[in-house]
Symmetry: C2
Subunit: 339 residues, 2 copies
Amino acid sequence: MKEATLRDVAEVAGVSPRTVSNVVNGYARVADATRLKVEAAIAQLGYRPNVLARHLATGRSGQIVVVVPYLDTPYFAELLQAIIPVAREAGYNVLIDQSDGDREHEGRLIGNRSHRSLFDGIIYSPLGLSQEDLSGRDPALPLVVIGERTSEAQFDHVGIDDVAASTEAVRHLIGLGRRRIAAIGDQPYPTGEAAQRRTAGFRAAHAEAGLPVDESLVIGTPRFNRVDGAHAMETLLELENPPDAVFCYSDLVASGAIHTVLSRGLRVPEDIAVIGYDDIEDGRYNRPTISTISPDKEAIARLAVGRLVMRINSDEPVPGVDLRAGHRLVARQSTVGSD
Amino acid sequence: MKEATLRDVAEVAGVSPRTVSNVVNGYARVADATRLKVEAAIAQLGYRPNVLARHLATGRSGQIVVVVPYLDTPYFAELLQAIIPVAREAGYNVLIDQSDGDREHEGRLIGNRSHRSLFDGIIYSPLGLSQEDLSGRDPALPLVVIGERTSEAQFDHVGIDDVAASTEAVRHLIGLGRRRIAAIGDQPYPTGEAAQRRTAGFRAAHAEAGLPVDESLVIGTPRFNRVDGAHAMETLLELENPPDAVFCYSDLVASGAIHTVLSRGLRVPEDIAVIGYDDIEDGRYNRPTISTISPDKEAIARLAVGRLVMRINSDEPVPGVDLRAGHRLVARQSTVGSD
DNA sequence: TTGAAAGCGCTAACAA
DNA sequence: TTGTTAGCGCTTTCAA
């Protein structure tokens, strides 16, 4: 049996398609009597609007794509989990795209115009972003960037205050009496902007406590993965004077670092306290559980989707803004111990 | 500037829209001279087909949805990572839907007809499936189920041979000289069909080795999470005669179980060997690294997408089949130790 | 408030 | 091999 169309409904209700459309969309006001007739017909036929046709007519696809570097990285998976329901509520389907951390790919999607009919906007959570990455893009395509920030002001950024959050993390370690604090995850190059903000917070906390920063304790890593954390920690443990605490730029890094510490027969947090970043679920089950900076992922999702929808619905060009979501420090065993 | 349409191209090339359509889709054969003209026009105008319009005209949306219980469960994330590129290659966009392990939700999506215009088929990876879950669904909507199997033969299943895989896992433990082997993850109720197949393999391995099964060592869990594993392990350790090896129905369960063992001051694998299931990336970084059954996720993805596409393109009803992907046992530290 | 009708951009049956 | 043309199902301008 074929699906009922709007025209069928109109016929049964004895009105014009136009009126049915009005009822379905609640656009214009419709006389109560007419509305009732139409609604009855809709129910009778089991009519459901054809979304595709609607999109063709309106020129909107009702889809947004969310680009993340990796799907199986807990932080991104959790971010997606927060975004999807919010988008759905706003009437958008979410297309998930994985960039594989691949610059080429990321650029390709944002730059080219083949999308047009496929999606109305992009929420983009890059691994690292350089100026050119975004400046070459199609300015007509609504875009909201999560996490990274650049000086360019033509699009929106959503994120937490990384500098403040990082400062709190390190302040927490200092408050615990630690004095030789290391940082794992610095990326002192153009695309490592997010990492650099954490490093800035790290320095700020030292400064406010009147503590010097031992530069040999600031370790760079190509990514924010477990292996990176494990390796960096090995480097730190080989120092003449190893640290008594470590600020890791992700929970994954922290997990790797802890792994190394424990396998050397040292204790966490007694010998070395470790704090991470992201508050991924894994951290709550790690042994020891991982202290962390917990970004408000729901707020990030709400802000990003809200802003994107606004952009999609606005005709004039919208100036880019910086939207801040909240965060909080969660102290767990890896810094304060078990009891 | 407006986007160029197929009609524009036709005009510039001096041919009919029909011909342009043929060139773009490679349907009918087109004279070389005409093709060249058309291609030139396409290039000149920067024409890109409007996917939406095409879908409206063909009655296909070009999208498939993949339903997984949780996005942040590593196994499902990795599965999705395998499916997406395969689907894309086949010309389909993947819509990811999260069921939250919620029965209601799963049923709703499969059952109702509101999709029609939204997607052409579903790949469904349920947490557990009961007979009714699928029998009430719209038979016209192409569906491939990953993992679960039921006796119903109206749709396709893709999965590895769980019984054989589980047998291998337990055989591995027996081969290591273990004699009191526990199983964590049984679900002896209708929706626990996948779990039951693992239990069957567990028993089969015992049978073939002439070993009795101590029923008190078969522990049920509501889910396959870390917590479930951790709790079950506690139960096992409280037994008068605890096991010397454990077969866990997921790597997450294994991770939780190992957590418990270690926190009791026991060693893995010396005191208790642990093997998991799924081969999630996490297992390679766990301390100790986790031995596991590694399903061929790429094969699963290929089989599922291939079958779904076939179903979408076929007019007559297609009989359901059972498609088997490969698997292999990966021995890591949690069973064979560090060196 | 509602009707008539012209598209949205593409496909495909029918003809030539 | 290519052109003509009628939709796909919905929205929306213009009239009434």
